[in-house]
Amino acid sequence: MSQYEAVIGLEVHAELQTRSKMFCGCAVVDSTSAPPSTYVCPVCLGMPGVLPVLNHRAVELGLRVGLALNCEIPPFNRFARKSYFYPDLPKGYQISQYDYPLAVRGWLEIDLPDGSSKRVRIRRVHLEEDTGKLTHVDDHSLIDFNRAGVPLLEIVSEADIRSAEEAEAYARKLRAILRYLGVNSGDMSKGVLRVEPNISVRPRGEEAFRTRTEIKNLNSIRSLARATAYEIERQVALYESGGQVQQATMGWDEARQVTVVQRVKESADDYRYFPEPDLPPLEISRAWVKEVRAALPELPSAKRDRLMQQMGLSRYDASVLVAEKAVADYFEATVQAGGDPKQVANYILGDLFRRMKDEGRPREQIGDIPLKPVMLAELLALVAEGTINHGVAKKLLGTLYAEGGDPRRLVEERGLAQVRDEEALGQAVAQVLDEHPEEVARFLAGEEKLAQFLMGMVMRALRGKADAQAVRRLLQAQLEARRKA
């Protein structure tokens, strides 16, 4: 174990999925696909004389997140201007929150790979407006203002995170919660969710924090994990070789898998915050907080516990199912349609995930596959009632996964129903035994493993459509009868 430990805090920016922007009526659109600067107006372009009008829906979505993160919601909120010059910032200041944020002092429980969990404290959650987006082309830059003024929630953790794995777990859990709350799609590649770790390392046992660096431009949780791990190692190596860490903003070079210095910070930035005079202070009534809290959906940890307690799932299975809201929804819909929870979990975590992985489909898109929860429930019902066995079910799954369909009709059309007629099964067993006298003799002479071979031959003769238990029973009975004969 390294004699250094990492000290990490995460700063997350999540765009809020409101219909209109934070301070004007412009629509919030996918800024990676909409034609540049088409969803703009004088307000979000920062033209002279215009004024912001607060979108209360953004506050409500922010409250949801604050409450889901177990934060206190102060009754008095206000906005502040954060001043700096940059071409993607139309007004030359960003309307943000400074001394009176929306939510403070919360915590997030993260699930670690070893099955344990840990609480990471949340320092603050505040509202602000997003900037435009710059694209650098040759020697000039283009600005797309569609994103300017989109409501943004900044979620700042305490520096409670101690490894890249924990950072990853935090990001995954937070993203899951944002999706459960319906406030953000969690798509880091589109920039609607941006996770920036602040990283320092220190010898174990040292109390004080050392100089930290911040990593920007991470476009996936995987990049976050890798960049964090890399940066920790880089800093440790620096100290071990007698060097010093320089306070800097780092970027992640995806191709080379290394962090690179983007900007060295010699002094703290001075954003000259002051209360936004164009917006009156925002009072958050206790009644509103109560209302938002009451309307919160079941969150991943609670859902995991319920799946364990009510449905008898293992902690691991339950954790994986709830990690993506779409997967949890799919699971619950299948159970709702009559599927046995454990069987459903097995099918989702096994076959479905494998097939999705093979086609490169992320888990959050499980709702889009042609195999719908009702179909999976029906398929499992066919197994439960003995019409088909699991082998046939898994073959059918391939068809249903690709094309969807009515499992019961497919079984009929393809003649896949199990042979359950005892007489027919008995005849098939007798025929196999007659055709393999040598193997039967060896079995009777004590080579018991040949029973499995004979079993396979019977199943093959029945083209797999037999109830394996019945076949095994009949096979044993007939073998015993021949032993006695």
């Binding site: 002279p48 030359g92 001075d270 000259r272 005079p277």
Partner: protein, 484 residues
């Protein structure tokens, strides 16, 4: 002459069919052509639009349409945006800028049928007390062309005084309608902060800016305010309270009205004729039945330093958007930062830069508490002075300025002397209360003197009633500047 009519007189004649809106507009355009080369009140004259609007007004008048301002020619201060019409805020940084939207205050006048004659000169971004800080040219006082009209709404005040508009809009951040009204001998009202929408008012200091009106009579200002006031969903700081009928408040009756006269507003060094005229005006109020008493507003002396911390702080952020990136002219440099520096460095005037630097400093880490925050605390004390005063009096009567209009160039080299010319108007702005100014005399050189009447927040009716009652009993407002 048609241009000698007051707004309300012109309205009666238009409705009676005695004159047409086109005639009335033509008369003003002709007077602008004749006099504005000397006065230089207008940055832009929108002749074609004005005539088209007047023709439309005549058509509507013929159908009996009684929109409150139908066919009445007005001037608009150039810090208020007007769709399709160049709006510069008196700054070279917005040279040629044509906004795609109209300020709510202007929009309400236009919807009430007003005819816009053009955009009037102002100190750059309303920062100044003389219009000498305009990025384009200096406006001259119609009473003495060698003197300033006051500022920052000097263009609008001069236009009304010179009969080049029946009325006008200005804006007031620390006295920018009241001081020029006093200097130009016209009437004005500075509404309560939030009474009129700021949407489309190119911000100088957001917590202080308020749209005001100029007229030759208090009645005219009441009419304009009635049309313009009221909540605007585009301005979250606009007050959502009903707008009274300000015309109906002009009863002429002030018997028993309690008038406070703050001792802090009669200072050493003020022009004796100004003090005499204001004292005489207060005596006149008493003669009309008002109950006059001396009061104290003990934090008055801090209004100037507080104002010059709060306003520049807000301005330093408000003016950050003028970077040459999205609109307005751009002075190209080799790098982004050089472009910023060139655009802002070459196109902002000296006073604007001075205030941006003051504000940037006051908001900087390590200075914020000592300057901005302290100023906000003292601002609260100033507000409390007024709260206490208005518990005992209905209105407060004071001089508007320590002197009459000064000479062009007299104070341009001494910013502090310039700032002192607003010393009687700043406190009311900081407190967010309302006020009116009416002419109350002339000095030995024939320059107008103004009486300031302050009222509590949303006290426009009582302020207007007092100002009107005074005006009805005097004839200062009927005098005409000695122009061609």
């Amino acid at each position: 002459m048609l241009t000698d009519l007051t707004l309300t007189e012109a309205r009666q004649r238009l409705r009676a069919g005695e004159i047409s809106a086109v005639e009335l507009t033509q008369a003003h355009l002709e007077r602008i052509r004749a006099l504005d080369p000397q006065v230089r009140a207008y940055l832009t004259v929108t002749e074609e639009r004005a005539l088209a609007a007047a023709e439309e007004a005549d058509r509507r008048l013929a159908t009996g349409d009684n929109a409150p301002l139908l066919g009445l020619p007005l001037a608009i201060k150039d810090v208020l945006t007007t769709e399709g019409v160049v709006t510069t805020a008196g700054s070279r940084v917005l040279e040629g800028f044509v906004p795609p939207y109209t300020a709510t205050a202007v929009q309400r006048l236009l919807e009430a049928g007003a005819v816009m004659l053009g955009k009037t000169n102002t100190d750059e971004f309303a920062m100044g007390s003389s219009t000498e800080n305009s990025g384009y040219f200096v406006t001259h006082n119609p009473w003495d062309l060698e003197r300033v009209p006051g500022g920052s709404s000097g263009g609008s005040a001069a236009a009304v005084a010179a009969r080049m508009a029946l009325g006008a809009l200005g804006t007031d951040t620390g006295g920018s309608v009241r001081q020029p009204a006093a200097f130009c001998g016209v009437s004005t009202v500075k509404p309560t902060y939030g009474r009129v929408s700021r949407y489309g008012l190119i911000a100088f200091a957001s917590s202080l800016d308020q749209v005001g009106v100029f007229g030759r009579t208090v009645e005219d200002t009441a009419l304009l305010l009635s049309v313009m006031a009221g909540h605007d969903p585009h301005d979250s700081t606009s007050l959502d309270v009903p707008v009274p009928d300000y015309m109906a408040a002009l009863s002429g009756e002030i018997a028993g009205l309690r008038v406070g006269v703050p001792r802090e507003y009669f200072i050493e060094g003020m022009q004796p004729e100004v003090e005499q005229a204001v004292r005489a005006a207060i005596a006149q109020l008493e003669a009309l039945g008002a109950d006059v008493r001396e009061i104290s507003l003990p934090h008055t002396e801090y209004a100037l330093p507080v104002y010059y911390l709060v306003a520049p702080s807000e301005a330093s952020a408000n003016l950050a958007r003028f970077d040459g990136v999205r609109y307005g002219p751009r002075e190209n440099g080799r790098t982004l930062w050089e472009t910023y520096k060139a655009t802002r460095g070459q196109r902002f005037g000296a006073e604007v830069k001075r205030r941006i630097m003051l504000g940037t400093y006051a908001l900087s880490a390590g200075y914020y508490d000592a300057y901005y925050l302290k100023a906000q605390k003292v601002r609260t004390l100033i507000k409390q002075d007024f709260d206490r005063a208005f518990a005992d009096v209905d209105v407060i009567a004071t001089p508007t300025t320590p002197t009459t209009a000064f000479r062009i160039g007299e104070k341009t080299d001494d910013p502090l002397q310039m700032y002192l010319s607003d010393v009687f108007t700043l406190a009311a702005s900081l407190a967010g209360i309302c006020g009116a100014v009416v002419p109350c005399g002339f000095d030995g050189q024939g320059l107008p003197i103004g009486l300031q009447i302050l009222g509590p927040a949303l006290g426009e009716e009582i302020v207007l009633r007092t100002a009107h009652a005074y005006q009805q009993s005097t004839d200062w407002h009927t005098r005409t500047p000695p122009l061609g």
